[in-house]
Symmetry: C2
Subunit: 578 residues, 2 copies
């Protein structure tokens, strides 16, 4: 009976931490060995972390990555490991080393290099072409491919499985999160498995890296499209499965569809090189490998966890022990604080309330309630004295101009200055609290409420802010975010009786228009056709266009939609809109 | 006698201004006609401006670009025009329309798509393959290629000229400036012309677009490698040449090297399609076309003009009438102000001096002298009262902590807040004044002196700041930037007797290390080998690495080196340095 025990090690790598990542890989190889796995797999570019960006342009970085891989190679006695690294010969390759018994048996080089959305792989890598590399381990034929490679029905997999007869395909990935992507991913993997009658091992990265969160959710799929093992989302995990390769052989022999497809198969599989691997596995105990069952998460739940992991990793990987958040009493800062507490613990979160003459009693009280509910320290710094002093100092220059944006922004910037003073004094990282709706239309103050090292809700529309807040309260079974905060009409409180609705349409409307314009790239007419007023659409689109300069100077934030601001949407500042 | 009158129209396009750019193209076609040119050429992507970035992902944008091209087509009676636009069929192409007498005669699609440095063309475009498209106009065989295409000795040009016999190659470009690039460009063009015995028309874009300046310098090169016409640098221009195509024919027939090379020529030229163009040119008057001679600029001079054009176009294309600059009395702000005055005129520049308790009498007086020399308005806003008020308001929270960075940055941020208040009140754009040396090592305050819409010296090392200041004074024959400013030891003046040299090595040393690390991607050991102390190099490299977060939130600035911060150098914030 052809059997294989496979292990997917879903690890959280740090970009640039070549030897640290190698150490983590070695630890996981040890765990896999102890569980008597035949083969253990790691995510794409596990040695250098993903995405390494322009670190790849530094020759010594690539050189050291190969030395770090060598450390891993030394630690593969009695096991086979598939490890993502940067290979180099006449160019750089996004590669996987297939290592066994202290030796690199082969190197697979990624063929499909994504160069869209947040990806820039053509900037660095040369297209590989090692789909014809097949390995034979304990009589089982397997092949490796990398992330994007598996997203194409006619990609390397078909050559490997249908053409060259691989019974197991190992895909190593660093697939970033957006809402519901896991469902797309899982459906695709199941289809690939059944289309090609092949076992699939899919190992994803986990962890936050600047704008990206890698959501894990690695899986092992059998040739009938059943998920037989599933790793945690948003956390490190290691999963195992005993693969019944015999079933693949049998299916392939007796499936009438397979026969028909084989007879029609005209792909040029080119040359196939088979590398035999014989590993001296210690006598195997008949240990039961449980297929870990993970309940699939709902959309709101997974967004929540993505935001928590994004915050945790940005803060801790950049060496901060605490964060500081300006608490206005509004829902955005409340949600940001709740996420930060989940991610870092209440002791690591400091709230600052900075009331002005325009702050209502209710918002002031809500800031206090929130801090109490979350169990975080709250600092109060009234800003009215400073605001008055600024106005005095500017009186002669401002003359008899009407009070307006300049005065409103002054208040936001005093608060920004206070947060940064605390940051500089105590080494706390400032989390900014603006949501995607505000950031889209520029309803935020540059160097004011936009200050911070990380912008937690930058890709979260206001309507989703409400959903997340409801989820948090429901989840905890108590009022974490005060009902008064959730119910109150949104206001920036920078002038008397100000309401967001003075400047913006209601958020249900706004968010829909923004979705069509930003994520769908609809033109004015197309948005109007979905049922909105032309003048309103024009106004919103114009606000998005003219505020590119603000977004360019905003802190990074966590991508949770198919198109986030940042690396994902690269718009000129200087432009004429049509 | 085969002759052709060619005209290169070096225009300043606006990104996204499809119909505006089309109008400018039509105006230049008219000028070319009046000078009885047979053919007129425009820069790469002249219809949509360069680089259009993610505007290209909007289907209606591409659609409108084709409609705008149609407007141009209608205006080509009696002349042939080569116009850059985005072509679309099964993908998007960076293309050139060859238009004549109201008809598109052919479309060339760029083959070599740059996807390095500031370029992301693989993100948008499909690789073309229309090198085999040859046009015959008045018996002269010509072919077109686009920007990057001509930078490869074995690129489309060799197929077109050597293989298919084109006598004239028209290259349309949007080639961004960095120091001395023009010399590389000119040498390359001369070599291509002589290698292939071909006439070359090279039309570059001019103008500023966010981080980039297109420096113009279009040229027409004969088949002996002589530049027979040369356009202005950093300005719109239109140049003409009467091409003696007969000389190409003669050279090709009688050159022994050509015969030898032809006999060895094994490139697969594929199929060649020749399109005949007959234009009803009005009877030509024997007008003398002067080859405009332009003195080549020195490095410092061209950097100065690049900065001036970058500022002018960023400010005016974004619709601002005035800029405001914080004048510290130091050299960076003085140089920024001088550039702004050159770019926009003294009436469009406002200086603000914001002295504190740490400002010396000399710097205060220098700010005044500079404003007087430049003839700009100077506003004085002392910040000590506000600084004192902030310290009071923070006294309880700061407790008995030692005075340090928090207090220093407070001052810079008060100044930033003041500049933004003026910006918001009067609609002035803030120009920030930090240089590349400071921005590299983070010797600057985020939301403080880093505030602004545009960062003029972001890619200018401090040592170059001195050279530029000297150049400005020499150029004007008077002391524009006060000698005292140039002579004084640099200081941020944020604490008593502070000097830059307290925190940084001297700028000669620093700039060399930065150059090796940033532009050359040297590792520590390689930098040390050039003659620097290991500990010092480590310290500088560390400062560069840990300040990525500040640069990510800095305003865009003008690229003048081969590797500028911004789109040109894409480093992760979260990373472990090796």
């Amino acid at each position: 009976m052809k059997k294989l025990r496979i292990c997917n090690a879903q690890i959280n790598c740090r970009v640039g931490d070549l030897y640290g990542n190698a150490g983590k890989i070695i630890d996981n190889i040890q765990t896999a060995k102890e569980s008597e796995a035949d083969i253990v797999t790691f995510p794409e570019l596990a040695i250098c972390g993903y995405p390494p960006e322009d670190l790849l342009l530094k020759p010594y970085f690539v050189h050291e990555n190969i030395k770090a891989l060598d450390e891993v190679v030394k630690n593969t006695r009695g096991i086979t490991a598939v490890v993502g690294f940067v290979a180099q010969n006449d160019g750089l390759y996004n590669a996987a080393a297939i290592i066994s018994d202290g030796e690199i048996k082969g190197v697979y080089k990624k063929v499909f290099l994504p160069n869209y959305s947040v990806f820039d792989e053509s900037r660095y890598f040369t297209k590989g072409g090692s789909e014809g590399l097949i390995f034979e381990l304990n009589g089982v034929r397997f092949a490796v491919n990398i992330c994007e490679d598996i997203w194409y029905a006619s990609g390397p997999l078909v050559k490997q499985a249908m053409g060259a007869g691989a019974e197991l395909i190992i895909n190593i990935s660093a697939s970033p999160f957006y809402t519901d992507k896991i469902r797309v991913r899982e459906n695709m993997l199941k289809t690939r498995a059944t289309d090609n009658l092949v076992m699939l091992s899919y190992t994803n990265m986990t962890g936050g890296q600047d704008e990206l969160v890698f959501d894990g959710g690695s899986m092992i799929v059998d040739c009938l499209g059943n998920v037989i093992a599933r790793a945690k989302r948003f956390a490190e995990d290691i999963i195992f499965a005993d693969l019944d390769i015999e079933s693949v052989v049998r299916r392939r022999l007796y499936s009438p569809q397979r026969k028909l497809e084989k007879s029609m198969f005209t792909h040029d599989v080119g040359s196939v090189k088979t590398v035999k691997i014989t590993t001296a596995v210690a006598a195997r105990k008949s240990r039961k490998i449980a297929a870990a069952a993970q309940e699939p998460m709902g959309s709101v739940e997974e967004v929540y966890h993505a935001l928590c992991l994004g915050v945790k990793d940005y803060v801790t990987k950049n060496g901060f022990a605490k964060v500081v958040i300006g608490l206005s009493g509004g829902i955005d800062s409340a949600l940001t604080a709740a996420i930060a507490v989940h991610a870092l613990g209440a002791k690591s979160v400091v709230g600052v309330t900075m009331p002005s003459r325009y702050s209502s009693d209710e918002t002031k009280s809500d800031a206090g309630k929130l801090a109490k509910n979350l169990g975080i320290r709250l600092i109060t710094i009234p800003i009215d004295g400073l605001y008055k002093k600024y106005l005095d100092d500017l009186k002669d220059i401002f003359g008899d101009t009407a009070t307006g944006i300049a005065e409103e922004n002054l208040q936001a910037r005093i608060r920004g200055n206070m947060l940064m003073a605390l940051s500089n004094k105590f080494g706390w990282l400032v989390l900014s609290t603006g949501n995607k709706s505000e950031v889209s239309v520029g309803y935020c103050t540059l160097y004011g409420d936009m200050v911070g090292g990380f912008s937690v809700l930058k890709d979260v529309y206001k309507t989703v802010v409400y959903r997340l807040s409801g989820y948090i309260n429901a989840r905890s079974g108590t009022q974490v975010i005060p009902d008064t905060t959730i119910q109150r009409e949104p206001s920036a409180e920078l002038r008397p009786d100000q309401k967001d609705s003075d400047s913006l349409p209601d958020y249900d409307t706004l968010d829909k228009i923004l979705h069509y314009y930003i994520e769908m790239d609809f033109c004015l007419e197309e948005i109007v056709e979905t049922g909105f007023d032309l003048e309103l659409v024009k106004k919103v689109v114009r606000m998005v266009d003219v505020n590119e300069y603000k977004r360019r100077q905003s802190p990074p934030g966590i991508k949770i939609t198919p198109k986030a601001f940042g690396k994902d949407r690269r718009m000129p500042i200087t432009k004429v809109s049509i």
